[in-house]
Subunit: 203 residues, 2 copies
């Protein structure tokens, strides 16, 4: 039936670099949105020919789902490393929010979140994609909750607003921050908002 596709240059029988291909694809999806990212754009971005994409990912939706999976993997690794390199919750989340707010004020493709952008686009049109995206977003909220719980046990924050409540508010704030940024990037306001958000979450 379906087998793995190969790269353009078929001198070696090695498969194409799947991670690289998926990162190129996710960038295209973030830049133009799912439906406006044509297969033509995807073949240019990935360097794969239509046939190879269909061979490896079934169809455009399959490539999206694989890209989302890679995106989640990358974001999780990034967050884990960020947590490891900070010894207290405040500086960790500060760095985290800076990493989010900084690209927001730019015009890079990374200023949007692949998960929320795609969710907003396909909401009510594709239940499978919606489920995958929701699950990934929930999983990340749980990661934040874990980090907050550890900080509680270390006595860095009080236990009164629970880690779950704090995580929910933080996630809501991040969603809002990104949308706010897309309405016209006032860097100063964005920085102030993320500061206030952090203060409130760690209150």
């Amino acid at each position: 039936m379906r087998t793995q596709a190969r790269l353009h240059a078929p001198m070696r029988s090695a498969e194409f670099d799947k991670e690289h291909v998926l990162r190129q694809a996710m960038t295209a999806f973030m830049q133009h949105g799912y439906s406006k990212t044509s297969m033509q754009k995807l073949t240019q971005a990935t360097g794969l020919h239509p046939g190879s994409i269909y061979c490896a990912f079934n169809n455009k939706k399959g490539l999206l789902l694989a890209s989302v999976e890679q995106y989640q993997k990358d974001k999780n690794a990034q967050f884990a490393q960020l947590c490891a390199s900070h010894d207290n919750i405040k500086s960790a989340l500060q760095a985290f929010l800076t990493d989010i707010a900084h690209p927001c004020a730019s015009n890079e493709a990374t200023k949007v979140c692949l998960l929320t952008r795609t969710l907003s686009e396909v909401d009510g049109q594709d239940d499978e994609v919606t489920q995958v995206l929701s699950n990934n977003l929930s999983a990340f909220e749980r990661s934040l909750e874990d980090v907050l719980n550890k900080a509680m046990k270390k006595g860095e924050i009080s236990s009164k607003p629970s880690a779950k409540e704090r995580a929910q508010f933080l996630v809501m704030g991040i969603y809002g921050l990104r949308t706010y940024a897309s309405t016209g990037n006032d860097t100063q306001a964005l920085n102030r908002l993320s500061e206030q958000l952090l203060e409130y979450v760690l209150r």
Copy 2:
């Protein structure tokens, strides 16, 4: 050149009900997004034939812009009435947030904001639409700022975080609330989040 179109039943030379048509169109745009709302869907939703739409609004984008204008008009009127029927800022914003959060947990088309949904979709693709949407969103933020300023003068809230800062945080929170709701509608969490948001804005 181009003139006004008429209704299906042309017994009378009266123009079609523009407001009604635009409200039907905006509902369709909110439900399916701009690009996935085909002209066929729009003809069904509005009851107008393609020729009439092109006669009255030039093209699909023109119908979108007219719908956005109507949306803003309706939202402004709604907000003004809401403010008039509450004598203090807290109950006014409470009602305002409830009006936002309640449909979010449902599956109505009104659970999304036409402005932010369309902005996220066309961002980086159409500068004119982007500008119009950003301007409308900024204008609404200024309405909130005005209301907060009036509350300050009445002594209901302190002047320390300025009305502008409060309005910005509130707007960010609303954006976040809606996105958060779209990830899986936990009504209870949504209510708690909007309560916390209000408390913080009126701190």
